[in-house]
Assembly symmetry: D2
Homo-oligomer: 367 residues x 4
């Protein structure tokens, strides 16, 4: 594999470059009988789509998705769901200027070293354009998960040094501002930051948080395919992500066992309840029934107007200034992408757990 597929049972295959004819892929393993149409996917694509607010890139892609297979009379058939998004705004001439040089922080240099050649138009395969396919696949995963009572939702919790106030967290707010922030009062502060960043031709990083609620206990595999390990891979595979943490995350490294253990008490439903969730919903790689909490760090885009020194393909020193249409904070549009990756991972582990659960064991577990 060349790394363009993810998942074992619920699997997304993904092709396409920033300025090629189209991007697309297919979802393998979606169970039969799920009601699905293009609008279900489009609504998620529209959340990620560029050019929607003044705070993101002005590249305009309709990002219109077509379902090519796997759906019959409004429901999935159990066979692969082919997905296609034609590229419509391919202004390749924008990129002639950077054809022969390596943009710092971009994959120009590493792709050339890996392949001996590269599609330099807009970053080619390394462009975040392919994340539209992830969002499309994630939309299907989300719809499937909802049939099991699982909801995946994400938010931006910090941009540069500007951090939201978690006491004002309101999931309703997330869809009502261009930053995906759950804290309404943070909106003007983010606006001001973006304004400042844009003015000086710079970019800024962001911290995102994705939560999955309703996941029952028992998803995830021991040892290598732990649920947290697969989530870490899925999320780290998003362009510009440099860090992932589950639950308390890096704070756990600074803490004590007495404070970090999530104590258990009899639950109101006769089961078990937890008094805290430092574990982020995963114990020993397996979901505990608590909300699953994933945080990710998105670096500032390297496409900035401030001149940076670099070398060209002949190895000569030169300067690069990126004048194209770029997001000052790529972390904003990464929110729906991160949700998609979490949803894809959970859908896969749901199927994995279904394949074996309650298969031969008939003894009651005592709870």
């Amino acid at each position: 594999m060349s790394g363009s597929s993810i998942g074992l049972l619920f699997r997304l295959c993904n092709f396409g470059e920033s300025h090629g004819a189209a991007i697309g892929g297919m979802v393998e393993g979606c169970p039969a009988g799920l009601p699905l149409n293009e609008a279900d996917i489009q609504v998620e694509l529209d959340r990620r789509r560029p050019g929607q607010s003044q705070f993101t890139t002005q590249r305009r892609e309709a990002d219109h998705v077509r379902i090519l297979s796997g759906v019959f009379e409004g429901v999935t058939t159990g066979t692969p769901i082919g997905l296609l998004i034609e590229n419509t705004d391919q202004r390749s001439r924008d990129y002639e200027a950077i054809r022969n040089l390596f943009r710092p922080g971009h994959a120009d240099y590493t792709y050339l070293q890996k392949y001996g050649m590269r599609d330099y138009r807009g970053g080619g395969r390394a462009s975040a354009r392919e994340t539209a396919v992830r969002v499309a696949g994630g939309a299907i995963a989300k719809k499937l998960l909802r049939t099991g009572g699982v909801e995946v939702r994400g938010a931006l919790v910090a941009m540069g040094e500007v951090v939201i106030d978690r006491n004002r967290w309101d999931w309703q707010q997330v869809g009502q501002n261009p930053f995906f922030t759950p804290d309404a009062q943070s909106v003007p502060r983010f606006e001001a930051l973006i304004e400042e960043i844009r003015k000086r031709g710079d970019s800024v990083g962001a911290l995102l948080e994705v939560e999955a609620i309703g996941v029952p206990a028992g998803w995830g595999e021991p040892v290598f395919d732990r649920l947290d390990a697969d989530l870490a891979k899925a999320v780290m595979s998003i362009n510009a992500v440099k860090g992932v943490e589950i639950g308390a995350g890096f704070a756990a490294a600074r803490g004590y066992g007495s404070g970090m253990a999530d104590e258990m008490v009899p639950g109101s439903d006769g089961g078990v309840a937890f008094t805290s969730n430092h574990a982020g919903g995963i114990l020993g790689g397996i979901s505990s029934g608590q909300p699953i909490v994933v945080r990710l760090a998105v670096k500032p885009t390297s496409s900035i107007r401030i001149p940076r020194q670099t070398v060209n393909v002949q190895g000569e020193a030169c300067q690069v200034v990126t004048e194209g249409r770029h997001d000052p904070c790529v972390g904003i549009r990464a929110v729906p992408v991160a949700e998609a990756m979490v949803a894809l991972t959970l859908a896969d582990h749901w199927l994995r757990q279904r394949s074996r659960e309650k298969m031969v064991l008939t003894v009651s577990s005592g709870l």
Copy 2:
């Protein structure tokens, strides 16, 4: 798969429980011709082995590894390398006390929910005992990587609130103290911390850093199987790890593009040089030739002597106190495990890159 194998071409399979007959596994895909004997593996196992200093668990396992196949006349044959470590110190009676309750922060509850039953002896499959097999596999990966000039090495850089001074970083020190710290002056501070923790029956988290030097540009696949994504999965799959970051990591979320871009200049060798390494050696998921830098957060072990409230398998409230032999800081012994996971991931991606590099392309790349 039940999640007990990792890697596509260089692959580790891993079986065994804490108190079963033995742990072991096999390495698939190791190329033929690599000189290998049991001592090569034992030296790495001895770095992880419990009972070696007063700062780790007093459980005593010889951890003697046998190579059962795949090596002939002192070199690998290209066929699977079978590995076996018999369990010799299985004091199962220690665990009768916790047979019927769920230890907070442990996988007792999630395993029971997943499987409908569990091997309660010492955590069974969820015990960190299985990491010995990872270290064994990692020893082979390290040896293979060395033939390509790649060295993988790890260190503990913080424990709780005690942080090393990076200005005193000396790799030589790592092997000369029980904490794997590269800062000699941090040793007494860590000793004091462990002493204090142990006295009050608590445990503490740790921050580790693993570095791979000598990795050439070009390893890693675009999109999902990015080198950083696979490293994140490999490292997050280690028991008690709650966070992973590459290069600048979470600091990148707080930074600006102008500061985070690693500028490039003509290298002394006619190639390219970087003025910084915020990327941690990976751009677009592909190695850049710079050192690869991975950091991971290890939570404090949940096995502590301070009483915690929990429930038993009947769902009744009760208290748990762990009196067994446990590490006050599991992060210490996680250093060789983290190195192993990084080495296994790199060996796999080396083979993946070899499968296609310079296959049909004959045009010079200009550099």
Copy 3:
């Protein structure tokens, strides 16, 4: 995975139904630098395309392929090659008659049992229509293999009881008749058989042979992923194939060791030569350097005009007569499909072998 991808390193993903919007997929893992355009693929698709002679189905599909990604300035980039073939002749109304019954020998019944629903139009996913995507992927595999001196070619060697004369085998003939037979004198005999079959509304089976020449010794993995095992899977996965054999195949079951051993003699090139090829070019699952020979049995299509008894979805007895446009011998058009599957398998094993060969071993092998 839902089974719609094949290959480990050179991998074809395949989506689409007989009467959906489009069929397509992607080739993952093709090395960078291979010259490739749509005409390279179209030429193979045209060999398989229906409606080309009076001896195959009269369904008319342009089968025009688009490359959507992975090719830049005429050469592959190393990233996934997206492939799309729009369905243009979807006369779904032909299939209303069979909407509610199970055609014997078809997958109508098993798909309904598996998925609880089915796309009944033209067989849906079970239709041989998806084999066009295999041929498209196979065209890329063939082109890659040619850079290594490997040629894959197939022929029809028997239809029903009519068998070619192997003494008249001439590969040049294969492209010059509608039956892909290498024996020019068999053409009128096959014509007569098809005429007779068609007249009585029946269908007939066929025996195909695919050969790969130029494969060097060393491709294939021991134990499970033997080259012959992977070829068997690839070929058996083609619609209507009921048997696969390598080299002497089933004749080996009737033979003696003294007759079946391919003796070895010093080769003219200083290497080794074989005096026969009962092994079909594969020993211990690994290619020997001799031609690889695969034979496959294709059953007669179950879509015939002779009434057959069956049941409908209500479980009532009824009769079925298939009046649609069908091939009297599906084995004919299976020739390019079989070539494609052999080529895909070989390309995959070439990359697998490249990943490890001559990696660390420096000792001369004596030959």
Copy 4:
């Protein structure tokens, strides 16, 4: 992967050489709660074990299996089941004579070409010794399948030109003669053939048949991972197998559609019944509920006492005579191995089907 693992969800990993320290492996993905002990596995190993009758090799291996993990208090835990069989009768000196030459029909030459070296003792990894691990894994698969009412059983149906009379087929007979023949009257004919073969130092091929009864409709995936395709791979991966067919198999190539279609009639249980089983229980790659029928051709072993010409590692012509302890008909002991491979494949597809069946679809299917 180096090809030593098979299966997606129910997976067998396999290591070990003919004359190494041990052979073994692990079964990943076996559901929790299956009663299992070493005797369950040993009984199958004993069926395959050499040295049991005068008609097989006189090499004596106790083939005593140890379960190292994955079983607790007599039932499987859902975690990997580690398996170990120590090699006890490693008379390596027998093989000094063939150290420097290539035995025709063996993998000596191809292994050396592939790896640049080889473990020449008894065929090393290419020896059929590793099939003991397959039988051990297959024993677990069989036990799991039985909980679902599926039984897998095999028989030898021809040896050389001696064919059983299918009218006398009696499954009870299979376990009561050293040839696994279901036709009691064939026993003296097979004895006579073996006697003759042995006398002249030759070997003979065999035809085997494996049947699985009780498989419900719906197992198998469309397109590439068809149940028949995966069975073909599994069976073709057995040493010395040169051909595989399902149901009518190669006879289908010679037949007509009118004769080959398995007609359907209302079943006595309100479902569907078939009037014949040319399909061998698989339609469109998916099980139909009929018995699954797989036949395989096993070539005569190449280890014979009749001198064969060959070359040595220096490329010089020489003769080889194999004086070791070898089976005159390796097809006999291949019966339990073939059963194991069929059982492993079915167990895997059972889990695959469980992962998605009846997940979201609530509509009644009409049957």
